[in-house]
Symmetry: C2
């Protein structure tokens, strides 16, 4: 089938202009999905604008995909036509490395295939993401949507949700623990909801008093204003785990002292060169800095079930595809609470 | 009793000149030790020269202490006069915080009392270390020396030994794992011996070809020259654990990619401001950077038993106290294989 990647953001930045994109035909192990909703991640913005110098135009962004199955390959027996499913940040991996064997496809040693802008097995072709009418995906990478989750508000679970769920789960967050969430955006607001649902005392850590009300509404038990030295001093050695969602380089050293002995701060936002590390907090407390990337397929399915059970979805603003450039502009100003989701019915066939 | 802190290094750098030092009398829970040997740690050099701006002169350095008991308090029943014992980097802690209760006195939340240059409970007084004839220490902080360990060569186990043993033990190093050791000095040479004895494949990681022979003699299965890009590329994703003993700020980012998914690099040398951290290796592999500080008292005792069982001591150069300044100068040039130990018989009464 042929799709026209004519939405404004992509064609505006593409040297090729509007472009004919061909989806692959439905193979024996494939699932074809009619996309209903697609979340708008900051990564989409970066790829649209080639901020990282690695965009292969035409780019069709989108890796927070929810839709209904319209066709199935012969070998796909566990899914049904019309069933609501989801696709996240990647659509293939090697299946045989130690990471894939351990259900951690996100750390595939051969590198996974991202949902968009990744080379496909046919040389010269690239994957195209969820700002589309439909997508064809290998059955292993298709999640089933549990009943009871609003499909539009659930779309961001596929990236923002799993990116925060995976580290919280990996570090065993539960009742009796104190978890800090740094940064209140798409990731941060999910981290608060999930940490709260896991039973931990959840503290929003922010520079801004203006976020106190919203953080508490989302489930934070407390808010720590990081620019207040007295408040910061009070919270030294108090956190079992801190999830750091700040998306830009920043000085994370002051936060390290908030961790208990043996505590971990996990970075999920600022990927790349960051501030100088002062190792004192690490050495004088066996503290750790870690990173985490989305989650494996089995874990993503588990996260969706967890969210259904706890009635967790993202706080979203539903937009039409025609409004995507304006949405990008608002995202740059952090003017979104907390995720844009595109209603794909707005995209002309 | 009165000791003359007249050794050259201290009096040369002290604004007070030679000084009369009074050790405390032997309390009910105390052990008095006649010091036979004291290892020379880089920290001693820093405190002698006030490199960190926190020296309280007169300083008597030394926290790698081996000697024999000469007096016991009434409440000390598990030790005997004449028994060979040891003292490491600290001589008191709060005993009641969560760290102390978990036998991790090194992370005491009230701050432990270091073996030298720490304020004592008597205001205005400071602890004095092992470059002395004798020392009085609370029984909880006195280790017993297992038979079969050469007392001079065992002295550095009390700092260099436990500093490397503790993280190797904490991260569960065992046969089937691959451990990297960065830096071949006092700490690094102990890390190689201990990791090898724990059964791990142990790889020395160094910039210098000149260290290959010695690293292998000490127990390294292999040596990775970190300035060789081809060799480094071959070892990407190969290490379960890396212990980083480099004592000065440096770029640790290239080493992070040597870790397997979920691997940890533990910093035990460079404490303080260090290089900018690139978080990519952390995020794309759930890798971690951690720190570690010496070890708890129970763990230090366990380390001594482990070393006795595996016939592990430090490679040392035995010196007289009169040679300490020359030893410091050689340490600055890394001209020691691998630890100076002072024969305390050379110190005049």
């Amino acid at each position: 089938m042929t799709l026209t990647a004519s939405f404004a953001a992509q064609s505006a930045t593409s040297p090729l202009g509007p472009h004919q994109i061909t989806r692959r035909s439905v193979g024996a192990k494939d699932v074809q999905i009619e996309i209903e909703f697609c979340g708008v991640c900051h990564t989409d913005l970066h790829f649209s604008k080639n901020d990282w110098g690695m965009s292969n135009y035409p780019v069709i962004p989108g890796h927070e995909i929810v839709g209904k199955i319209s066709a199935l390959g012969a070998e796909v027996t566990h899914l049904k036509i019309g069933q609501r499913v989801a696709v996240g940040c990647f659509v293939n991996s090697c299946h045989v490395c130690s990471s894939c064997e351990a259900d951690m496809e996100q750390y595939c040693l051969s590198g996974f295939t991202t949902t968009y802008n990744s080379p496909t097995q046919d040389p010269g072709n690239f994957t195209y993401g969820g700002y589309s009418k439909r997508i064809v995906v290998d059955k292993h990478f298709v999640l089933t949507m549990p009943d009871g989750l609003d499909p539009a508000a659930a779309a961001p679970l596929l990236c923002a949700g799993i990116t925060t769920y995976s580290p919280l789960k990996h570090w065993g967050i539960k009742a009796g623990m104190t978890v800090g969430v740094i940064g209140l955006g798409g990731l941060g607001h999910m981290a608060i909801k999930l940490s709260h649902a896991m039973g931990a005392k959840t503290v929003m850590i922010t520079t801004s008093e203006s976020k106190v009300h919203d953080a508490k509404r989302l489930g934070a038990d407390d808010v720590l204003i990081s620019t207040d030295p007295v408040a910061m001093k009070k919270m030294l050695n108090q956190f079992d785990f801190i999830i750091n969602t700040i998306p830009v380089p920043h000085d994370y050293n002051p936060y390290m002292w908030l961790l208990k002995v043996e505590g971990t701060m996990c970075i999920v936002g600022a990927v790349g060169p960051n501030a100088a590390l002062n190792t004192q907090a690490l050495v004088f407390g066996r503290r750790k800095i870690a990173g985490s990337l989305v989650g494996g397929i089995a874990e993503t399915q588990e996260m969706l079930e967890f969210c259904a059970k706890h009635h967790i979805v993202s706080d979203i603003e539903l937009i039409k595809i025609q409004d995507i450039n304006q949405a990008y502009e608002r995202m740059i100003k952090s003017d979104v609470k907390y995720r844009f989701v595109i209603d794909m019915a707005s995209l002309p066939e």
